[in-house]
């Protein structure tokens, strides 16, 4: 799950999931939600792309993943689904995109501000600040 946390200038998301893989998925869906995507009706065309990133910190993997999706948003593509695989130092995702009609909030980047992925009570949690 994710929820938006008040931030004066930017957008902050709190994400909480049962696994790291789900956290990455939820963060991606959170990003699509706050972007205010308005899909093209009757458009079933899917664009499939494989994404891979290697880094020795899960926080870097998360920010890179979100920044990849922000880059795709600039190309008028939004994520509808993804199959994610995470190892200790890599992220692999099969991504399914669709073209959108309109986006209501343009996000510049996911930031490292106070970023920490923590495990607490069997849940994986993080706060992500996005620059607008």
């Amino acid at each position: 799950m994710f929820k938006e946390i008040p931030h004066t200038a930017d957008v902050c998301l709190y994400v909480e999931s049962t696994s790291l893989k789900n956290l990455f998925y939820d963060a991606a869906i959170g990003l699509m939600t706050i972007s205010g995507i308005e899909p093209i009706s009757d458009d079933n065309q899917l664009y499939i792309e494989n994404y891979k990133y290697i880094a020795n910190e899960k926080e870097i993997l998360l920010i890179e993943w979100l920044n990849f999706l922000i880059f795709k948003l600039e190309k008028q593509l939004y994520l509808v689904n993804s199959i994610i695989k995470i190892t200790k130092n890599s992220l692999f995702a099969k991504c399914y995109f669709k073209k959108y009609d309109k986006i209501n909030l343009s996000i510049k980047s996911a930031t490292y501000h106070n970023l920490q992925i923590i495990k607490l009570n069997h849940l994986i949690k993080t706060f992500i600040t996005f620059d607008l």
Binding site: T8, F71, K75, S109, T111, T129
Partner: protein, 476 residues
Amino acid sequence: MEINKIDEFIYEIPQDAFNKMRVPARFYADPKQLDLIAKDESLKQLVNVATLPGIVSYSIAMPDIHQGYGFPIGGVAAFDADEGIISPGGVGYDINCGVRLNTTNWKKEEVTKFLPEIVNEIYRSVPLGTGKGSLIKVSKKEFEELVTEGIDWAIKKGYATELDKENVEDRGTLPVRDLLGVSERAFERGITEIGSLGSGNHFIEIGYVAEIFEPEIAESLGLFKNQIVVWIHTGSRGYGHQICSDFAREYQSVAKKYQIELVDRGLACAPFNSKEGQQYYNAMNSAANFAFVNRQLIAHQIKNVFLNYTKKIKPLKFDLLYDLAHNIAKVETHNISGKKRKLVVHRKGATRSFPSKLLKGKFSDLGQPVLVPGSMGTSSYVLIASENAVQLSFGSSCHGAGRILSRTQAKKEINAKDLKEKLERRGIIVKTPSISALSEEAPEAYKDVETVVNVVNNLKIAKPVAKIKPLAVIKG
């Protein structure tokens, strides 16, 4: 947090407020706005900046300070060029986000009748919003020239004149030794967004000079009452965002390599003189050059729209008053305790404000113009740099009103359609691709710009020359 009042409008958080601080933190504010400033995380972020290596004198914030990521918005921090650092988080994702003010010889009463059509034409001809393309197409080689040469490139291609160049901060070109730190994705994003406004708080505003406070200076700047002027607020678009993202990631490990302790990952940095520090510096400067050209191209496009109305109105004179950066790190020489020192001055949501003695060329007798746009629908200000900016803020001033409401809160409290109608009832035309985003930029979401300007005026950081009121806003 302990906050001491040092003087009227000057507040200090002492160095012992947090054991990792290397210098105290200072902020300039109106007492009426203290509660607003203390409401969010901005002062904590200001304190965090004071922990970075090589910081000189104080971690400083302007009266429009508000919460950012890593460094606060409205922050100024100077680091010793030999011992200190450079930080992408101290510049921001939108490198050289900035503002320019173009003046015309048209008067409000001559233009009002045609304004709705003019605004529609600008709205149609300038790319706005996310991924909406560029005004011009260039090859990768030309793009590399553009980001290396800045305004000189625009002159070469006929989009700017030598006169424009004189009126751009640092004459529109920051030094770029190489582009080794620029990723392919940054090039890909930049090449498709040249001459585009973007979204968020970026805007084009047509306004008129409503009040003049300093007639002689106003005349020197070419300002007169009821004159039609154009504001453009945008930056380096995806090109700058990508450069910041790339280095914010790289510097996570670079900071460790140089044993720099970070109290927030958003402060990630590298020694300025290191290989990594220089790579970011060059890449950042190239993004700054992109932004100077970006604003120039948009102005050129607006001028072309205006030219279609010369028969209906009168022959057009369209000049640049000034174009400045408010997200940048610059190498500058400042006098610290009687000694000249080379510093890397980070301004994140702060405007350079150099009085005449620090300038060469066009503004060396007057001082640098400081442009302070207000929030949507409110007045904006043209100021001129004053003497005290040098000692109080490394030659820096405020950059706007400063947010007080989060975007979520603004959306909850302000109805976008009502706001648009309210502005239109006041005679202000509003055009935007996303009506729902309007409420985020409502005047209620920002501090009172007049109070902010008053602080810098009282501290003699910059002096108001003219007040400009809006007639039409095109929001990205």
